[in-house]
Symmetry: C2
Subunit: 456 residues, 2 copies
């Protein structure tokens, strides 16, 4: 039987889409500046058995599979490749179980990140990892990329919250990994291996996640600095002081001005950098921590600081950070980078970004997670560009990645290697390490059908 | 050339030991009740190149390798097997670098756990994972087993602190894994795969670890309960309240009485369970947290509670827990188990342990990490036993492991599968999962030379 016939026969009515117009949405992710390939079909399973059935049919016909959650990748991780089957788990969107005592939640991969904490809030519980895209990214994609977020500086990343998985392997076998206990060391950590494997080793069909008791309030601080180094000094001093801040974000002048231009927020347009800090520790500790952070900012030459424990005022302050991407997008098409360096090198990386902007004659707005050294320098290409600026922007993008490596950093802090960082991976991890990764990939997916054309 | 000649030629003078008397120490770990095999030699490399050279010689001659740190395994993880080469890293004991700003330390595998925090304390930094054996276990072994400890309930386990590794693979290839940044998602998580692999995938020769700012004090609480369920209720209530306790230990009556018999500590001998709780949060939060924990214990029917913020008094209270093993050892040879269940099932598991003790007619003292459901029921066999009690104790040991599985738990919370839990692994992880583990093992160690006879 032909592939599409066999696939349609293996899945319920309506689970396979081949219409080119309908596929248009599903062949793209949010890496706008890449051109996706043309898939031959998209499958929308509702159960693990349906995922396994689709994988088996694809394997029989040697059809490459591009797994897809909500398609919010910024690294080309879920862009279609020519002739592929898109295996989209968006209809597997049930929250299966919330356990109050053991503080866990069991979910299907298509559940949106923000929906998890909404569902667990009535139980006084919360799922910490919070990508900026949390309203429209899925937990399946979060697991595939080991996604980060704003509060990771205190609470860690996706991998720290995944206790166990159900995974469909390349041959359609279903395995369960992990455990129900907080601790456990029984055998190789296949859970951790699957997290961050970007759909190249298997397709996650269910996940058991750890939760935490919801914080009951926040204290927030915004501080402006005359130089990048001063902002970096403040971050270092706050880290050294062991203040348990739950958010430590930075924005450079280009980003601050873009936000102020677009939204008239009365920001200090002359400042070289803005730090946005928050504590969600129990009252009154959060107030103490933020007051101490403000002191440390001031002794690092902050020109202006403002603090609040009021939720609405805090939201208003956080808006400046949330609006960074939309504000830069008002100036053109954006190429969002995702690099990380040791915390101590953040000011240096921000300085390099400014140098690169000058050398390549492009606009770069830098912002990101200062507390863990993870930045998103964002290149802006005017919408009426004839390709000239894009060409320079792509060169600048590569310069930024190489600068991160030079500073002892990584080519991707939280978005994944995907398509766009694949050329740099060997330089970061080394030939012998990459060879081991490829041996594991080949052993688990000998036909190379799972998300090919990425790094493995 | 014969194996031993080639090995001696490949390593510096004094690095290879074949004397049977000298080997006696190195063929054993702390799993006293197992009989180790007879190695043909032990190698004591001082550098990565020497480890690689020894591995290559062993591979050429198809000699199995048993990697060894400090030999403190309680799971038979570093017991010699007949004819093996013991590859002992105890001479690789240098702390290479402490980075105050990025809060990292780089160590060789033979460094003892406690030495790390001693070396970083002058920098105001601390390495959290704290096995009870921290004075005499090595970081290499901690990494091999993904070791836990007392403060894991707040701070997580070894894997959460390993940022990067240097590893010698089965063919002598050296790879580096991980990164220098807090976050990073470049490629498969080989670091996490190596952590907990118990020497079956490679030999760790260097590790970069995360540190935390040292806490500046503690508040401590001891509470006695009339029933196991009451103690379990208190743990659940404290967890639900989101108190950030850094220690939540439990001891059952058998253990409490053993400690009181041996050391006359004036403990409540009638209590069914003792909880030992500590907060290391900043002052004054720690006092608030422990006061709230005391209230929650009292409303869960605690018969007696005592709290202190004095370091010496706290040490005295912690002694009861630290003396659990020595006290039980005064009664005979101990078989220490290591099982974990979802936190909610702890009272049930303790009850099962009592039932098993009765049914099998053996003494079982249970204690452990209540906060993360990880218990160490310990069987006591009189020293003059003719084998009869040992036989019953081994049966009880298996009963305990199966009870943990029945309650949704794991066969090992922090000690590793080693030799003694190998028969239970497939039952926990499933046939398909274990097959994947074996495929990875076979791909990375096709000759099966690294720590054979364990679970892979």
């Amino acid at each position: 039987m032909a592939f599409l016939d066999e696939l349609a026969a293996a899945l319920p009515d309506g689970a396979v889409v081949t219409d080119v117009d309908l596929l248009e949405t599903y062949r793209r992710d949010r890496t706008d500046w890449l051109t996706p390939g043309q898939p031959q079909a998209a499958a929308f399973p509702r159960t693990t058995a349906e995922v396994a059935a689709a994988v088996k049919v694809a394997a029989t016909h040697r059809i490459p599979i591009v797994p897809r959650g909500a398609g919010s990748s910024l690294a080309g991780g879920s862009q279609a490749i020519d002739g592929c089957l898109i295996l989209c788990v968006e209809r597997m969107d049930r929250i299966l179980d919330v356990d109050e005592v053991d503080q866990t939640v069991t979910v299907e991969p298509g559940v949106l990140n923000a929906h998890i904490s909404e569902a667990t809030a009535p139980h006084g519980l919360w799922y910490p990892p919070d990508p900026a895209s949390k309203a429209f990214c899925s937990i399946g994609g979060n697991i595939a990329t080991n996604a980060g977020g704003l509060c990771c500086v205190k609470y860690g990343v996706t991998r720290d919250y995944v206790m166990g998985l159900e995974v469909v392997l390349a041959d359609g076998t279903v395995i369960e990994t992990g455990r129900r206990t907080i601790k456990g060391v029984a055998g190789l950590d296949l859970t951790g291996l699957m997290v961050g494997s970007e759909g190249t080793l298997g397709i996650v069909t269910r996940a058991r996640l750890r939760l935490r008791p919801s914080p009951d309030g926040t204290a927030t601080l915004v501080a402006f600095f005359p130089t990048l180094t001063a902002a970096g000094d403040a971050v270092a001093a706050i880290t050294r002081a062991g203040l348990g801040l739950s958010l430590m974000e930075i924005m450079d002048r280009t980003t601050v001005v873009a936000v102020d231009d677009a939204y008239r927020m009365d920001l200090e347009r002359d400042a070289a950098a803005l730090l946005l800090l928050q504590s969600d520790s129990p009252d009154p500790l959060r107030g103490t921590e933020i007051a101490r952070a403000a002191e440390l900012c001031e002794s690092s030459d902050a020109t202006y600081t403002v603090t609040t424990e009021d939720a609405e005022q805090a939201d208003a302050l956080l808006q400046a950070r949330r609006l960074a991407i939309p504000a830069l997008e008002q100036q053109g098409t954006t190429l969002l980078d995702d690099i990380a360096v040791p915390r101590s090198r953040v000011p240096e990386l921000l300085g390099r970004a400014q140098d690169i902007a000058e050398q390549r004659d492009v606009t770069i707005g830098s912002f990101g997670h200062a507390g863990d050294g993870n930045l998103h320098p964002t290149l802006v290409v005017p919408r009426d560009d004839d390709g000239t600026v894009l060409h320079r922007a792509l060169a600048a993008f590569d310069d930024l990645v190489l600068a991160a490596l030079e500073l002892g950093g990584t080519i991707t802090g939280e978005h994944g290697v995907g398509t766009i960082k694949a050329p740099f991976l060997e330089q970061e991890v080394g030939t012998a390490n990459l060879a081991v990764q490829r041996r594991i990939k080949r052993e688990l997916d000998p036909l190379g059908l799972l998300n090919p054309g990425r790094w493995l």
